[in-house]
């Protein structure tokens, strides 16, 4: 084997090593992204569950005083009952948004009842649920950002070449599907 052949083999080997390295790094990056998405979802799921567990305590704490606000309380109970950790993520997003809206309505109504506002137990529950709502919002942003990064990665070079080989599919965002966001036109 003459020196030129050795040099040519070295060049080809080096290029192959670079390609292989980038391929392995890309594969590992996608695997890490999938793990991060799963973790981000678990972190949302934990808070959804906590909110689901806290709401009955809040409703029962204010029910006695808010006897004339049954609609608001019923809406909170209905939204809470829709929570199902096994349904698809976009559906969970819809139900989570409904619960958030119902809870906000309840808090707005509570403002009109000074006797409830001065109740420490209710205030504590309100603070806890507001904190959970804030955590859901933040972690939703984090989850969606992670999904965005994953979806972008598997549709761009060089990783898009590996996606068909390993069957990588786009992941859903924690958001309502566009058709579910449509509202009937209101004639003012």
């Amino acid at each position: 084997m003459n020196p030129q052949s050795v040099a040519a083999a070295f060049a080809v080997g080096l290029l192959l090593a670079i390609v292989l390295y980038i391929g392995v790094a890309s594969y590992n990056a996608v695997m890490s992204l999938r793990q991060r998405i799963d973790k981000a979802w678990s972190n949302i799921d934990v808070v959804l569950k906590q909110r689901h567990d806290q709401l009955p305590a809040l409703v029962s704490a204010v029910r006695g005083v808010m006897a004339f606000e049954q609609d608001v309380l019923t809406e909170v109970a209905r939204a809470r009952a829709n929570y199902s950790p096994t349904e698809p993520i976009p559906d969970q997003a819809v139900h989570s948004d409904e619960t958030t809206r119902a809870v906000r309505s309840l808090f707005a109504v509570v403002e009109a009842y000074p006797e409830i506002k001065s109740n420490t137990n209710v205030l504590d529950l309100q603070t806890q649920i507001e904190r959970l709502e804030s955590m859901i919002a933040d972690r939703r942003e984090l989850y969606n950002d992670q999904v965005y990064r994953y979806n972008t990665r598997i549709t761009t070079l060089p990783t898009m070449l590996l996606a068909p080989l390993f069957g990588w599919q786009q992941r859903p965002f924690f958001a309502a599907r566009p058709e579910e966001l449509e509202r009937p036109a209101t004639d003012l």
């Binding site: 990056a29 890490s32 933040d138």
Partner: protein, 374 residues
């Protein structure tokens, strides 16, 4: 006029080998940076206030915790520095591994700090972290022996307490640092105290990288409750000890000592004044027991005492950022996109290194085979 034929072969082989080595080194560094850029770029930045335990990336501004460092070459207040002097005289005491690297003086040091974003702050324990800090001093001794203008050799202690309060902080800023009588800054430069800094006949190259309070950083690592940190200060056993803390003999000895009443019940009982929070930084929260001949330290006010307690007391359930055995902390200057951009730049340089290595290998082959021999 007759031209003497020049034999280019030894020089050519040398240059080709250098090109090959440098090219491969650039490539290896570039590929490592590619992986790191992917890791940073693929991790979403969390808000500190709603951080969950596990691998996270946070981005914010550095805030001092209990103490800050004073860098050795610029006397800059910082939380991390890496200082190098090349070309110092031979009398300097340096570690053997650094001597192999060709560095005459090398010091790298970090202290714990906080990082704050718009939602809150979190404590960072930078032990075993990898740092990507900007070079803030990169200059050499002038031709006339004059030292670079940015050089301001540290003349006091390497650690400064924080949380002095506004008035004390202003006074500390305005005060001229006084060198301790036995401090000889030129020792680290390899010269005697009687010589001027430029008194030696060798030129020195100074490099210092620092991360200071107020700098923007991106930190990628593991968030975990403070209580889960395994002895962050390694205070329980000697560094380098091969004995595990759960070693049967060690456990037996401790149990025996406890039964015999040889183990102290409280830190104060074990370490005396050193167990008082704030004692080591000149702000003890309680009156220390002193030798009657010693100069009594002024006691802090109740506000300062509670501030010191707050600073040193970290609740067990509070999340902190620290290295995990499988995931060392990465602390990089700037926002995440800056950190990624720097690494992508080095990756491209690495690809250029591959081209240099291939070209050098080709040239070497041609020289060896005689095609480019003379």
């Amino acid at each position: 006029m007759r031209w003497m034929p020049i034999d280019w072969q030894p020089q050519g082989i040398f240059l080709a080998l250098v090109g090959l080595g440098v090219g491969l080194w650039l490539l290896a560094r570039g590929l490592a940076d590619y992986r790191e850029a992917t890791r940073i770029g693929d991790t979403s930045t969390s808000r500190i206030a709603t951080l969950a335990a596990g691998e996270v990336q946070v981005s914010g501004v550095i805030e001092a915790a209990e103490v800050t460092l004073i860098s050795p070459l610029q006397s800059a207040s910082c939380v991390y520095y890496r200082a190098t002097i090349d070309g110092a005289d031979d009398g300097i005491d340096i570690r053997a591994d650094l001597e192999e690297l060709g560095a005459d003086f090398f010091e790298e040091r970090a202290v714990g700090f906080r990082v704050r974003d718009e939602s809150g702050d979190i404590r960072v324990f930078p032990r075993a972290a990898r740092w990507d800090a900007p070079t803030t001093l990169d200059d050499s001794t002038g031709l006339m022996g004059d030292e670079p203008p940015g050089l301001r050799i540290r003349t006091g202690p390497a650690i400064a307490p924080t949380g002095l309060g506004r008035e004390a902080a202003i006074a500390a800023l305005l005060a001229r640092p006084e060198a301790s009588p036995d401090f000889r800054p030129l020792v680290i430069l390899g010269g005697g105290a009687h010589q001027g800094i430029g008194g030696g006949d060798r030129r020195r190259h100074y490099r210092e990288a620092t991360l200071s309070v107020g700098d923007a950083v991106t930190i990628l690592g593991r968030a975990l409750p403070f209580g889960d940190l395994a002895d962050p200060a390694e205070a329980d056993f000697a560094v380098g000890s091969e004995l595990a803390p759960d070693d049967a003999e060690v456990v037996g000895d401790i149990a025996e000592a406890r039964e015999a009443g040889l183990l102290a019940a409280t830190p104060e009982a074990a370490w005396g004044n050193a167990g008082i929070p704030g004692f080591g930084i000149g702000h003890p929260v309680r009156a220390p027991v002193l030798d009657p001949q010693a100069t009594a330290l002024p006691l802090g006010t109740p506000e300062q005492a509670s501030e010191a307690e707050r600073r040193f007391e970290i609740p067990s359930e509070a999340l902190v950022l620290a290295s995990a055995p499988d995931a060392p902390l990465l602390i990089a200057q700037g926002i995440p996109s800056d950190a990624v951009e720097r690494r992508e730049g080095r990756f491209l340089l690495g690809l250029l290194g591959a081209i240099v290595a291939i070209a050098s290998a080709m040239a070497l082959a041609m020289i060896v085979s005689g095609a480019l021999g003379t």
